[in-house]
C-alpha cells in the first residue's frame, strides 16, 4: 500500500472561480523521491499546500500509511511527520542556525528560558545524524543560499519528519549547490525518508526522482516511473495539446519601433548568475511581442526593468528613440507608458482604497484644479470606465471587495485610459476565469488594431501563442529563441525552448 494517498482532492478558489485541483489522485510510495511537475497554475502548489495544512480541500481524503488523516494546519502536518521547505525561505536572519531550527520547539531551562546550549547540542546531534556539516552557532544572515536551504531541511528533520515536501528547491541555487542538495536528498532516501519535490526542470526530474506525477490545469495527466520517460515526453505531457483559444488575429502591417531594449542586464551584488543577461528586444507599433518563460527565468525581472521600478545594471531602454533607462516611474508615467503588472493585488492596486481611487492613481493630475479634485469630472470618469469595461462594483467601494476578474478589469481600464503608444502586460490572465481572460484578450487585440505596441510577458504558452506576433523565449535570464508566430510554430517546440531543452544558435 502506498505511504501517502490523496484521493479525489478538489479545491476551488471562489474569489476568481479557478478550479485549482480537480479530483486529483496522488500517491507516493514509502522511501521514494517523487517529482511533481507542471506549468505555472497547474495545481502543484495547491496540492502540496493542502497536504501541508496550509489550504483546506473542498472534497477529498488524505491517507497516511492507510489511515485517513485530517490536516488542518502545518502544526498537525508536523505532528504527522510531514515537513515542507518553501520556495521562499522562512528563516530569521538575525537568529543563529540553532535558534532557527528549534523555533517553536525550543529546549527550555526551568520551563521558561531558552536553553541556548541545549539548542546547539540538539541541532548538532540532528546534523551529525544526517551527515550535515554545519556550525549551529552561525547566524543565518551569514549563510549562502544553499546553506539556508540546508537549515530549512534541518528544521524539518529536527521535528522528526518522515515525509519532506520541497517546493521548487533548485530555483535559487547554483549548479554546485544543486549537486549538494541532490546528494543530501539521496542520503535522506537511503535512511528511509520519503521526499516530494516540485519542479519545472525536467533534467532534475530525471536525475533525482524514481517516479514523476505530471499535472496540467488542475488534474493529474500522468504518473510514470522516471526511468521510463524522456524529457521530451514529459514536456509534451506538461504543455498538452495547444488549446485553440477563440482569438482571431488579422494580419497587420507593423509600425515603427516604439520600445527597444539593448543588451539589458541585471545582476545582483555577490551573485554570479545575472538575472537578465544581455536581453535585446524591439516592439513595433501594432505588434504584440510575447515573452514566454517558466517562473524564475527572468520574466519578473524584465517586468521590473521595463516598468522602471528596478534599475538595469547595464544596457539601455529606448522609447520612441528617447533613452529612458534612468527615468523614474513618475517620468515614465508622464511619457504615457502603461503597465498591467503581474502582482495585481499589491502593485497593481491598493486593496483598502476605493475603486475610484484605484482608477486615478496614474492620471489624478488630470482632475485637479488649484490643488483640489474636480468631483464631477472624477465621478464621470469612474462611471465611464465602469460602464465601458463592464466592471461589477460601485466605484465607491474598496477594490478589495471585488472579484479577481473585476480587479483586473479596473487595472486594465486605468492603464488603457492613459492613451499611450506602448503598454506592458505581465501575466494578464493569471488566475482568472475563462470569461475574464477572453475579455482581456479582446482588449489586447484591440490595442494592436489601434497601432499600439504591446509587450506581453507570460508563463502561459497558450496565451502567448494565440496573441503574439513575435515570440521570444527566456531561459535563465537570456533570450534563447526569437520565433515568428506563424502556423509552423508548434507548442511542443516553444515548450522545449522554455524548459531549456533546446537553444537557438546565434
Amino acid at each position: 500500500m502506498a505511504f501517502l494517498q490523496m484521493r479525489g482532492i478538489t479545491k476551488l478558489y471562489p474569489e476568481n472561480n479557478v478550479l485549482a485541483n480537480d479530483a486529483v489522485d496522488f500517491e507516493v510510495e514509502k522511501n521514494e523521491i517523487h517529482a511533481v511537475v507542471g506549468e505555472n497554475g497547474a495545481g502543484k502548489s495547491t496540492l502540496m499546500k493542502i497536504l501541508y495544512g496550509l489550504e483546506r480541500a473542498d472534497r477529498g481524503a488524505i491517507l497516511l500509511e492507510g489511515r485517513p488523516v485530517r490536516i488542518a494546519s502545518p502544526l498537525e502536518a508536523s505532528r504527522l511527520g510531514i515537513g515542507m521547505v518553501h520556495q521562499h525561505f522562512r528563516l530569521i536572519p538575525e537568529f543563529t542556525i540553532a535558534e532557527n531550527v528549534v523555533l517553536g520547539r525550543e529546549p527550555r531551562r526551568r520551563g521558561l528560558f531558552l536553553d541556548q546550549e541545549g539548542a546547539v547540542r540538539a541541532v548538532r546531534r540532528v546534523a551529525e545524524e544526517y551527515g550535515f556539516s554545519i556550525d549551529p552557532r552561525l547566524r543565518v544572515a551569514e549563510l549562502s543560499v544553499g546553506q539556508m536551504q540546508l537549515v530549512e531541511i534541518l528544521k524539518i528533520l529536527y521535528r522528526r519528519a518522515d515525509l519532506l515536501i520541497l517546493d521548487e528547491p533548485t530555483s535559487v541555487l547554483t549548479e554546485q549547490q544543486i549537486r549538494k542538495l541532490f546528494a543530501t536528498l539521496r542520503g535522506l532516501r537511503a535512511i528511509g525518508k520519503t521526499v516530494i519535490i516540485i519542479t519545472h526542470k525536467l533534467g532534475e526530474v530525471k536525475e533525482i526522482s524514481q517516479r514523476v506525477t505530471v499535472m496540467r490545469a488542475g488534474r493529474v495527466v500522468a504518473v510514470r516511473p522516471t526511468a521510463q520517460v524522456d524529457e521530451r515526453e514529459l514536456s509534451r505531457l506538461m504543455v498538452g495539446k495547444a488549446l485553440s483559444l477563440q482569438v482571431r488575429r488579422e494580419p497587420l502591417a507593423r509600425g515603427p519601433v516604439v520600445l527597444e531594449l539593448e543588451k539589458v542586464s541585471l545582476k545582483l551584488k555577490g551573485q554570479d548568475r545575472p538575472l537578465l543577461d544581455g536581453v535585446d528586444l524591439q516592439v513595433h507599433g501594432g505588434e504584440i511581442v510575447g515573452v514566454a518563460g517558466v517562473t524564475g527565468n527572468g520574466l519578473a525581472e524584465l517586468e521590473d526593468v521595463v516598468s522602471g521600478l528596478r534599475r538595469v545594471t547595464s544596457g539601455s531602454i529606448l522609447h520612441d528613440g528617447v533613452d529612458i533607462t534612468r527615468f523614474t516611474s513618475l517620468e515614465l508615467r508622464r511619457r504615457g507608458l502603461a503597465y498591467v503588472p503581474a502582482d495585481r493585488l499589491h502593485r497593481g492596486s491598493s486593496l483598502q482604497s476605493t475603486v475610484l481611487e484605484n482608477m486615478i492613481i496614474a492620471s489624478h493630475h488630470r482632475f485637479i484644479r488649484g490643488g483640489v479634485f474636480r468631483r464631477r469630472e472624477l465621478e464621470q470618469f469612474a462611471g465611464e470606465l465602469t460602464e465601458h469595461y463592464s466592471i461589477e462594483g460601485d466605484p465607491r467601494v474598496p477594490i478589495g471587495t471585488l472579484s479577481g476578474g473585476n480587479i483586473q478589469k479596473v487595472i486594465l481600464a486605468r492603464e488603457l485610459a492613459s492613451r499611450s503608444d506602448f503598454i506592458l502586460f505581465s501575466e494578464p490572465t493569471w488566475g482568472l476565469d475563462v470569461a475574464s481572460s477572453e475579455f482581456i484578450y479582446e482588449k489586447i487585440l484591440e490595442l494592436r488594431r489601434r497601432g499600439i505596441a504591446v509587450l506581453l510577458l507570460s508563463s502561459n504558452l497558450d496565451e502567448i501563442m494565440s496573441l503574439a506576433d513575435t515570440l521570444l523565449v527566456m531561459y535563465r535570464g537570456r533570450v534563447v529563441a526569437r520565433l515568428e508566430n506563424s502556423g509552423a510554430l508548434t507548442k511542443e517546440l516553444a515548450g522545449e525552448y522554455m524548459l531549456g531543452l533546446r537553444e537557438e544558435r546565434r
Partner: protein, 348 residues
Amino acid sequence: MKWRSRDSFLAGAAGLAITLGISFLIAILLILLLSKQPLATIYYFFIGPLTNKYYLGNMLNTAVPLTFTGLGIAVAFKSSVFNLGGEGQVYSGALAATVICLALPQANGYLGGLAALAGALAMGAVLAGLSGFFKMKWGTDELISSFLISTAVGFIVNYFITGPLDDPGNNLLASFAIDKRYFLAGLFPPSKLNVSALFALAAAGLVFFLLYYTHPGYEMRMCGLNREFSRYGGINVSAYVVLPMLLSGALHGLAGGLAILGTYHMAVKEFSFGMGWNGIAVSLIARNHPLGVVPAAIFFAYLDAGAKAAMLHSDVTFEIAAIVQSVIFYLVTAQALYNALRYRRRAA
C-alpha cells in the same frame, strides 16, 4: 467624492457606543468597590464636568490642544509615517510663541499674535520635518529619530524657561508673562475656553479637506496605504515621508503656541506634558479620521475633567481616579485598535 461607504462607518460607530457602555459599567462597578460614597463619586465623575460653566468650559479648553495633536498624529498615520516627537514639538512651539511675544512688546496685538503662532508652527514643523528629511535622505527610522529629537529638545526648552526667560518675580518655574494684548479672547467666562477652540474646529475641517479632497492629500493617503502601488502609479513616494512629518509637526507646534496665547500666558516648566502622547491616543480612538479627532479629544478631556471633579468633591484619591480613567480609556482604545486590525486583515 465619497471615499468610504457609509455602512462601515455606522457599524464602527455602533461598536464604539457598545464599548463605551460596557466601559462605563465597569467604571461604575470599580467606583462602587473603591469609594465610600459611591453615589457622589459617580455623580462627580460622569456629571461633574457638565454641571457648571467653569467646568464645562475648562473641559472643552483641555480638548483644544488634544485636537491639534490628535490631528497631527492622524495626518502622519494616514501616510504611514510615525511621529513620536509630539511632546517636544508642542513644548518647543510654546517656547517659540512665548519668545516672540516677549520680543515684540510694542507690536499690534493681532500681528504679534499671528507672528507668535507662525513661529510656533514653524518650530514644530522643522523639528518633525527633520526626522522626515533624515528618513528620505538616509533611511533613518522616523519613529526613533522624532522621539529622540523631541526628548533632547525638551531639555533645551527647560533650560530657557528656567534660565534666560525665568521671571524672578513669580515663584514658579516659568518664563515672564506675555503681554495682555496677545491674549486670545475668552469665549465662555469664567472658564478658560477661548477662541483657540474655533481654530481647532477649523483645523479639523481643513485637515479633512486636505486629506480627502486635494491632490497632496490623495497622494499622501495612497502612499500610506500602499507604497509600492503609489510608486507604480508615478507618485514621488520619498516626498511623502517629509510632507506628512512637516504637517504633523506644524499642528503640534500650533497646539503649544495656542496654549500659551489662549490659556497659560507664560511658558511654565513642563506645562504641556502629556499633550503629545495623548494626541496619539486621541487619534487612535478617532481611527485617524480628522473629523473623529474632535469628539475623541472632547471625550479624552471629559474623562480627565471627571477624574479631577471626583477628586475634588468626593473621597476618591488620585490613584483611584486614574484607575477608573484608564479602564475606560483602555477599553475604548482596544476597540479602536481591534477595528483597525480587522479592517487591515480583511483587506490583506
